[in-house]
C-alpha cells in the first residue's frame, strides 16, 4: 500500500447472497490525493459495487478500506464506519434530487446535516457551490422543475459544497443526451481541476474515462483486470478484453517465431511481422493486436521498406468527413484501416498497408 494514497481499498470482497457469484473479489486500489480515478468496465462488472463499498452503502465481506488516516472498514477488526460519518460525498446516477426541497435547500442539506458553520455562512457556501455549477439564478426553483442537466448540476453542487476529502461519481452522465453529455463532461473536467478534488468515477463509457481520468481501473466480473493511465491502457493493453473494451481493434492469431533484444518476429496468416518489445518466448501462440487508426494506407507505388508492409485491395470504404474507414483484403484476411481524408482510395484500388511495429502488440491467447 502506498503511503501517499488518500483512499486505499485492500483485498475487498462482496457477495450479495450466499452461493451467488461474487460482485467484487479481491479488489485492491489506491487513489492519490487530487487524482481523477475511474472505475471502468461493462455493466455488472462490480464497478458500482466497489463505489458503494467505499461509500459505505454496502458492507464488504472481507478486506480493508482506509481514507487518509481513518480506517473506514476492516473486516478483521470489525470496524465499519457508517456512510454519514465518512468524509465522502457522492453523486448518483439518478441525481437523487429531493423533490420536496428547493434547489438551495438541496445544496444546504449536507451542511445542515454535518452541523457546520452558521446559517449565513452555509447559505453563502451553498450559493458559491451553485455558482460554480452555473445555477446561481436557480436557487429558489422547485427541484421538480429542473431539466436533466440542471438536476445533474444540483447533484454536483450538493457534492462539492461539503468539501469532502473524496467525491464519488456513479455514472453521472449516463442519463443525459449526447450533446449535453459532452458539455457536462468538459465542465466536470474543469471543475475537478479547479477544486483539486479527489474523485472516484464510475462509468462504462471508455471515451469518457480516457478524457477525464488520471488513472483508470478496468474491471471485469468483479475483478480488477488492468490499472494505469489512459494512454497505457489504450496503447498497451494487457488483455484482449482490455484491448477491445477501450476501442476498436483487430485481433489476429499469431505464432512467435523469434525473440531478439529489439523485438520479435511473429507469423500470421497474412505474413510475418516485426513487433517492438518482448513479451513472450518463441514458439507460443498469441494474439496480435493492432487498432485500425494505426494501420497506414499507402499507394501501391510506395517506396517504403517492405517490413510490416503488405499489398492489399480495398474491399469497401466508409467516408465520414474527417475520417475514412477502409476494409482491405490481404489474401483471405480482412483488415480495417482508419485514416484521415487527406488522401483517399477507391473501392478496388490496390494499396500497401503498413503496420507500424511500435503499435503492434502481442496479447495472451486465453481470454480471446
Amino acid at each position: 500500500m502506498s503511503e501517499a494514497a488518500l483512499l486505499s481499498v485492500e483485498r475487498v470482497a462482496k457477495r450479495y447472497a450466499e452461493g451467488s457469484a461474487a460482485a467484487v473479489e479481491d479488489m485492491t486500489i489506491d487513489v492519490r490525493e487530487g487524482e481523477f480515478f475511474t472505475l471502468l468496465g461493462p455493466s455488472g462488472c462490480g464497478k458500482s459495487t466497489t463505489l458503494r463499498l467505499v461509500a459505505g452503502l454496502e458492507s464488504p465481506d472481507a478486506g480493508r478500506i482506509r481514507l487518509a488516516q481513518t480506517v473506514l472498514f476492516d473486516a478483521a477488526k470489525g470496524v465499519n464506519v457508517q456512510s454519514h460519518k465518512r468524509d465522502i460525498a457522492m453523486v448518483f446516477q439518478s441525481y437523487a434530487i429531493w423533490p420536496h426541497m428547493s434547489v438551495l435547500e438541496n445544496v444546504l442539506f449536507p451542511l445542515e446535516s454535518l452541523g457546520r458553520y452558521g446559517r449565513a455562512e452555509r447559505i453563502a457556501l451553498a450559493r458559491a457551490a451553485l455558482d460554480r455549477v452555473g445555477l446561481a439564478q436557480f436557487e429558489h426553483r422547485s427541484s421538480t422543475l429542473l431539466s436533466g442537466g440542471q438536476q445533474q448540476r444540483v447533484a454536483l453542487a450538493r457534492a462539492i459544497v461539503r468539501q469532502a476529502r473524496l467525491v464519488l461519481l456513479d455514472e453521472p452522465l449516463s442519463n443525459l443526451d449526447t450533446a449535453l453529455r459532452d458539455q457536462m463532461r468538459d465542465e466536470l473536467f474543469v471543475l475537478q481541476k479547479q477544486l483539486g478534488a479527489t474523485v472516484v468515477y464510475v462509468t462504462h463509457d471508455q471515451d469518457e474515462a480516457m478524457q477525464l481520468s488520471d488513472r483508470i481501473a478496468l474491471m471485469r466480473s468483479g475483478k480488477l483486470v488492468d490499472l494505469g493511465d489512459p494512454r497505457r491502457l489504450y496503447l498497451e493493453p494487457r488483455s484482449a478484453f482490455g484491448a477491445k473494451f477501450l476501442g476498436r481493434t483487430h485481433l489476429h492469431r499469431a505464432k512467435v517465431r523469434e525473440v531478439s533484444g529489439t523485438g520479435s518476429v511473429v507469423q500470421t496468416t497474412f505474413g510475418d511481422l516485426m513487433i517492438d518489445g518482448v513479451r513472450a518466448s518463441a514458439g507460443i501462440d498469441m494474439l496480435l493486436m493492432i487498432r485500425p487508426e494505426h494501420v497506414e494506407v499507402e499507394p501501391q507505388s510506395s517506396t517504403r521498406p517492405s517490413a510490416n508492409s503488405f499489398e492489399a485491395r480495398i474491399v469497401s470504404m466508409r467516408f465520414s468527413g474527417r475520417t475514412v474507414l477502409y476494409e482491405a483484403a490481404i489474401g483471405g484476411e480482412r483488415l480495417e484501416a482508419l485514416t484521415t481524408s487527406s488522401r483517399m482510395f477507391e473501392q478496388g484500388d490496390v494499396v500497401r498497408l503498413h503496420l507500424p511495429s511500435s503499435r503492434c502488440r502481442l496479447l495472451p491467447l486465453e481470454d480471446a
Binding site: Y16, A96, P110
Partner: protein
C-alpha cells in the same frame, strides 16, 4: 470484536422480519387457524373437547352448495365486469379525451366513495323496488300497466348495485395506467396510419391488459366477500351468496344455536380461493407495474378528440353521477324525512318531518356511536398506515428473510369475508381474555387493520417502488444520520401517500358493516351497526337519517383523501 457491522445489520433485518411476521401472523393467520379448528369441534367452538367431521361433510355435501357457489360466482363476476367496464370507460373519457369539463369530473369522480354500499343498497330498493320504486311507479303511470318493470330484488339488481358501488375503485385503479400510455407508442401507431379507435383497440388495450386484469381480479374478490348489498337486496328474494349464507348460519340458523362448525368448514373454501387468487394477483400486479415503469417516462399523449361523441360522453358521466350519488342520496333524504317508509311521491310531501334528524342529534346512543365510529376509523387508519409503511419498507428496501411471505400475508385478508373475520376474532378474544378487547372498539380496530392492510400495503408498495433508493442514499452520503434521513427525506416524501392511505381507510372504516355487525358488543356500537339495527328493527326512516349524516362525514373524508392523494401522486387502490 467479531460482531462486525454486516452481521449487526443482518441481525436487525432478522429481528424486523420476525416482528412483522409475528404481527401479521397474529392479525391474519391466527384468526384463520381458529376457524379451521372450529370446523372440527362438535359445536363449532374451537376450544371445546372432541373432534367431528360432521360440519365439514354437512357444509360440503349440502345439496344447496353448488347453487350457492354458482350464485356467488355469477354475482362477483357480473359486478366486477360492470365495475371494470364503468371504470375503464370513465378512465378513458377523463384521462384521454378532450371531454368538456374534465377537471370538474375528475375532482368529483370519487364522490360515490362517500356512499356506503349498505346505503346504496337501501337507496336502490327505494328507487327500483318492484312496486314502490320511483322508476317502476313512473313507468306504471306512463304505460298504464301495473307490475314491476325493473325488479331490484333479483340477481341482476344485486349485480347492478354492486357494480355501481365498485366502479369508483375500478376507476382509481385504472386512471393512472390509462393516462400514462406513452406518446411514443401512440405516435408510432398514428404513423402506421391507425385511426384513434384502432389505436385504442390495438395499442392501448393490449398494453392495459395487465392493469385491467389486476383491477378485475381485485373487484372480483371484493364481489366474492362483500356482505352489505347481498344482505339488503339478496336476502328478501332469497338470493343467497356465501357471505350472507355465513351471516345466516350465525344469525338465522335452522336450529337455535349458530352453526359455527359449518362456518369454519366454509372457511376452507375461502382459504383455498385466497391462496390461488393472491398468487395470481401478485403476478398480475408485478406485471402491471412493469408496464407502468416502461411507459411512465413518456410524454402525456395529446387527448383523443371526441367531436360529436362528446354529447353522449357527457351524458354518460352525468348518468354515472346520477346513479351512484344523486338518485340514491335523494331517495335516502326523502326516506329520512318521512315518519314511516313510503314511496317517493309528491302526494306525500305533507308527511315530511325533520324529527328523525332531530332524534339523531338528541340520541345519546347515536352520539356515542358517532364517537365510536370516529375512534375506530382513526385507530384503524393509523394502524394500517403504519403497518403498511413498515411492510412496504421491509419488502422493498431490506434484504431480510421472509419478504415474500410477509408480502403475501399482507395481501391475504383481501379474500376473507369481513363476516368470517369478525367471527374468528370473537373466538380469538374470548379465549385471550388477558387482552380485554372483546366487546370493545378495539376488536373492530383489529378486524379493520387486517381487512384494509392489503389496500394500504399495495399503495405503499407503489410509492416505495417509485421512490428511488438513491434519494435516501444521497442523504446518507450528505452526512445525515439515519434518524435525520427518516425525518427529513423519507417522511416528507411518504407523508402525502401515507395521508392518502390513512384517509382511505378512515372513510372505509366509517362505512363498513360486515365486521362490526359480527363483533357488536357492549361498548362498540358504531354508526354502521346502529344504522343496520334501525333498518332491521323496522325503523328505516331513522336509519336513513343516520345514513345522511354518515354520508356527510364520509364526503368530508373523501374530499380530504382526494386532496391528499393529489399531492402524493399515485396512491391508488
Amino acid at each position: 470484536m467479531k460482531a462486525s457491522a454486516p452481521a449487526t445489520r443482518r441481525a436487525g433485518e432478522w429481528a424486523a422480519g420476525g416482528a412483522l411476521l409475528l404481527v401479521l401472523g397474529y392479525l391474519v393467520v391466527l384468526p384463520l387457524l381458529i376457524l379451521v379448528v372450529a370446523a372440527f369441534r362438535p359445536h363449532g367452538f374451537p376450544f371445546e373437547p372432541g373432534v367431528t367431521f360432521a360440519h365439514v361433510t354437512n357444509a360440503f355435501l349440502d345439496p344447496g352448495l353448488p347453487r350457492l357457489i354458482s350464485g356467488t360466482l355469477t354475482f362477483a363476476i357480473g359486478a366486477s365486469a360492470l365495475a371494470v367496464m364503468l371504470g375503464l370507460l370513465l378512465a378513458f373519457l377523463l384521462e384521454r379525451t378532450d371531454m368538456p369539463w374534465r377537471g370538474v369530473w375528475r375532482a368529483a369522480v370519487v364522490l360515490p366513495m362517500a356512499m356506503p354500499p349498505m346505503l346504496l343498497g337501501i337507496a336502490w330498493t327505494l328507487l327500483l323496488g318492484p312496486r314502490i320504486g320511483v322508476f317502476n311507479v313512473m313507468l306504471s303511470e306512463w304505460t298504464g300497466v301495473r307490475g314491476p318493470f325493473l325488479n331490484i330484488y333479483s340477481l341482476s339488481g344485486m349485480i347492478f348495485v354492486e357494480g355501481l358501488a365498485l366502479a369508483p375503485s375500478a376507476y382509481l385503479m385504472l386512471a393512472a395506467p390509462v393516462g400514462n400510455i406513452g406518446s411514443a407508442m401512440q405516435e408510432a401507431a398514428a404513423m402506421s396510419a391507425a385511426g384513434p379507435l384502432r389505436r385504442w383497440l390495438k395499442i392501448d388495450l393490449p398494453l392495459l391488459t395487465p392493469a385491467i386484469a389486476a383491477c378485475a381480479l381485485v373487484m372480483f374478490v371484493a364481489g366474492l366477500v362483500v356482505f352489505d348489498i347481498p344482505a339488503i337486496i339478496g336476502v328478501p328474494s332469497k338470493i343467497i351468496v356465501l357471505s350472507t349464507h355465513i351471516y345466516g348460519l350465525a344469525h338465522n340458523p335452522p336450529e337455535s344455536l349458530p352453526r359455527y362448525g359449518e362456518i369454519g368448514a366454509l372457511s376452507f373454501l375461502f382459504i383455498g380461493l385466497l391462496v390461488g387468487l393472491v398468487a395470481l394477483y401478485q403476478r398480475l400486479g408485478a406485471r402491471a407495474q412493469r408496464y407502468v415503469a416502461i411507459t411512465g417516462r413518456g410524454w402525456r399523449s395529446s387527448p383523443v378528440p371526441l367531436r360529436a361523441w362528446k354529447y353522449p360522453a357527457v351524458a354518460f358521466v352525468i348518468l354515472y353521477f346520477l346513479l351512484t350519488v344523486a338518485a340514491p342520496f335523494a331517495a335516502l333524504l326523502w326516506t329520512s324525512l318521512l315518519p314511516y317508509q313510503a314511496r317517493i311521491s309528491p302526494d306525500l310531501i305533507g308527511l315530511l318531518t325533520v324529527s328523525n334528524h332531530l332524534a339523531f342529534f338528541g340520541n345519546a346512543r347515536a352520539i356515542s356511536a358517532t364517537i365510536h365510529s370516529l375512534e375506530v376509523a382513526l385507530l384503524a387508519a393509523s394502524a394500517v398506515a403504519v403497518l403498511a409503511f413498515l411492510v412496504a419498507a421491509y419488502v422493498n428496501r431490506s434484504r431480510g428473510p421472509g419478504r415474500r411471505i410477509i408480502d403475501l400475508l399482507a395481501a391475504a385478508p383481501l379474500a376473507i369475508p369481513g363476516v368470517m373475520m369478525g367471527m374468528a376474532l370473537i373466538f380469538v378474544y374470548l379465549t385471550f381474555d388477558w387482552l380485554p378487547v372483546y366487546g370493545t372498539i378495539w376488536i373492530i380496530v383489529l378486524a379493520f387493520a387486517a381487512e384494509y392492510l392489503p389496500f394500504g400495503s399495495r399503495a405503499m408498495n407503489g410509492v416505495m417502488s417509485q421512490l428511488h433508493p438513491e434519494l435516501e442514499e444521497a442523504a446518507r452520503m450528505s452526512g445525515a444520520a439515519p434518524s435525520r434521513v427518516l425525518r427529513k427525506i423519507l417522511l416528507p416524501l411518504f407523508l402525502p401517500a401515507a395521508m392518502a392511505v390513512w384517509l382511505w381507510v378512515f372513510a372505509h372504516a366509517l362505512r363498513a358493516l360486515s365486521a362490526p355487525v359480527m363483533l357488536q358488543g357492549r361498548d362498540n356500537i358504531v354508526l354502521s351497526t346502529l344504522l343496520w339495527g334501525y333498518w332491521n328493527s323496522g325503523e328505516p326512516t331513522i336509519a336513513a337519517a343516520i345514513g345522511i349524516w354518515l354520508i356527510v362525514i364520509l364526503t368530508l373524508a373523501t374530499i380530504g383523501w382526494r386532496l391528499a392523494s393529489r399531492r402524493g401522486g399515485a396512491a391508488h387502490v
